[in-house]
Symmetry: C2
């Protein structure tokens, strides 16, 4: 029933903006094309995409532009979460109707201390509102930002009640115990750690790859690691991607990724972020480039 | 410049839902009429309104319905916050164009660890997008749910750069020191504690009243306390509203308010909440009613 789930390294695609603040559609499409050519999949409208800094209409228009440009929706897992069930359903329905392989859905993230019953009810309501058997829903566990962890009890109920619809999860907790426990307890679930640093450890246990910020700048090596994680070659690959990851995540991640793209592509426009985020200070940017160069990184 | 700011007790109006999940427009209007008749003002689409569980379109349609029904926008302070600047601006522009006295705006609440520069830039961008001199913006400080506190440094910069536009703040921190410090440091700011329990202590220091969940069920006494906080009569009033508040806030607040309205008005539909919230269990509801009856409370 879940044979159609995704595998590979997915980029939560960073979103370029024009000087007037609107999304830069052409640059966005070009970046996505490059990611695909490097072997990565696309998870646009994630945390690292500044998705929640965009309106629902902006997100849907960007997805349309991507697919209308000929990029394959079968390699897309757009983020469609929202605090309200109507908006999460609207975004998801649109993605399903455009043929996307799946949707990656945050829990509602305004109220805190949410009960398992309430969280289950939210996902169940959104699924009912989408009302499309083609839906493939990936849960998005990112407690540090959402403030609403997705418990194993909720996952179990959703898998039981929506088999073949709820098919996966992205785990951004960074918690190895949570990953390992889910891999053991839910073998039918397509599990994606949010960092490539877990690939060698989790692929043998059944993880599908990763959905990781740094795929935006390091898509080739991370994609290769997902299939070649075993043996000495895998060890070398793992060490290499780990080094780049460590350097990037020592900074505010989104600003760092955009800085690397701006510098590497000679496109200063990539540096723009939407408020409330801010870009890297010039000294921080210089240090980032110096460390990456020392590690032998090249875009 | 800020003579037109609001004073009084405002209800973050709870939102009734129909059995199919849509907002119950007629019941909403009736509740708002009753609140106004009791002397309270309206702060629809706040935390206790489940605003973030509604889409932007649902929120704007409800505000239209309220004003089209003849209720006075001069007594309305709708919540127009959103994670994205475009959506916060859209909701705010709509409220300003409909003549609302002001808008109450959450910070963007997905990203955490936001810098003062980033938070200032967000509000500045939203104000620029609204582009209407009639705007009166009240900041909404609710760190426990937003995860993004509004620092005094940000308030100072906004007051300096947008005088007469940024005019007030709702403080839901429950932190007496924060309230007192703001009352001293920003005399030009219209400060609304989020609980009636602060009225006697903060009115003599210049606070404008309160924007409090329990105004939904206790609007008359709380509204009277805002003007009659002084002397023995004030003490009696304060003790009375404190007792009701204590009983309500010992439960999940939104579910408790709706339970009180459902029981008191004989309208079971009031019990409906949107996921991810859940209603009170029957035993919890019984205990709530028993405690309120013992305290002499009547809707």
């Amino acid at each position: 029933m879940v044979n159609d789930v995704l595998t590979g390294a997915f980029a939560p695609v960073v979103t370029p903006f024009l000087s007037d603040g609107r999304p830069d559609v052409d640059r966005f499409i070009a970046h996505c094309r490059w990611l695909l050519a490097q072997g990565a999949g696309l998870a646009p409208f994630g945390t690292n995409s500044e998705a929640n800094s965009m309106s629902a209409l902006e997100r849907m228009a960007l997805l349309d532009a991507l697919i209308d440009a000929g990029l394959p929706p079968a390699r897309m897992l757009p983020g469609t979460g929202a605090c309200s069930a109507p908006e999460a359903a609207q975004l998801s329905r649109h993605a399903v109707q455009r043929g996307c392989a799946g949707v990656l859905m945050l829990p509602p993230f305004f109220y805190k201390g949410i009960s398992d019953d309430g969280l289950y009810a939210f996902y169940a309501e959104v699924i009912a509102r989408i009302a499309d058997p083609r839906l493939r829903l990936y849960l998005y566990h990112i407690p540090a930002l959402s403030g609403v962890p997705i418990s194993h009890g909720v996952i179990e109920r959703l898998l039981r009640d929506f088999p073949g619809i709820v098919v996966g999860i992205k785990d951004s907790s960074g918690d190895w115990d949570n990953l390992r426990t889910m891999l053991e307890r839910f073998p039918e679930l397509a599990i994606f750690p949010a960092s490539e640093s877990f690939i060698s450890r989790t692929r043998p246990l059944g993880a599908r790859g990763c959905i990781s910020a740094t795929v935006n700048i390091n898509p080739g090596p991370i994609s290769r690691l997902v299939t070649q994680w075993d043996g000495p070659e895998g060890q070398v690959l793992q060490a290499g991607v780990d080094r780049v990851r460590q350097i990037a995540q020592a900074r505010p991640m989104i600003a760092a990724l955009k800085e690397v793209l701006a510098e590497g592509l000679g496109e200063p426009g990539w540096r723009r972020v939407r408020a409330p985020l801010v870009g890297l200070a010039p000294e921080a940017a210089q240090a980032l480039h110096a460390e990456l160069a020392e590690a032998g990184f090249k875009l």
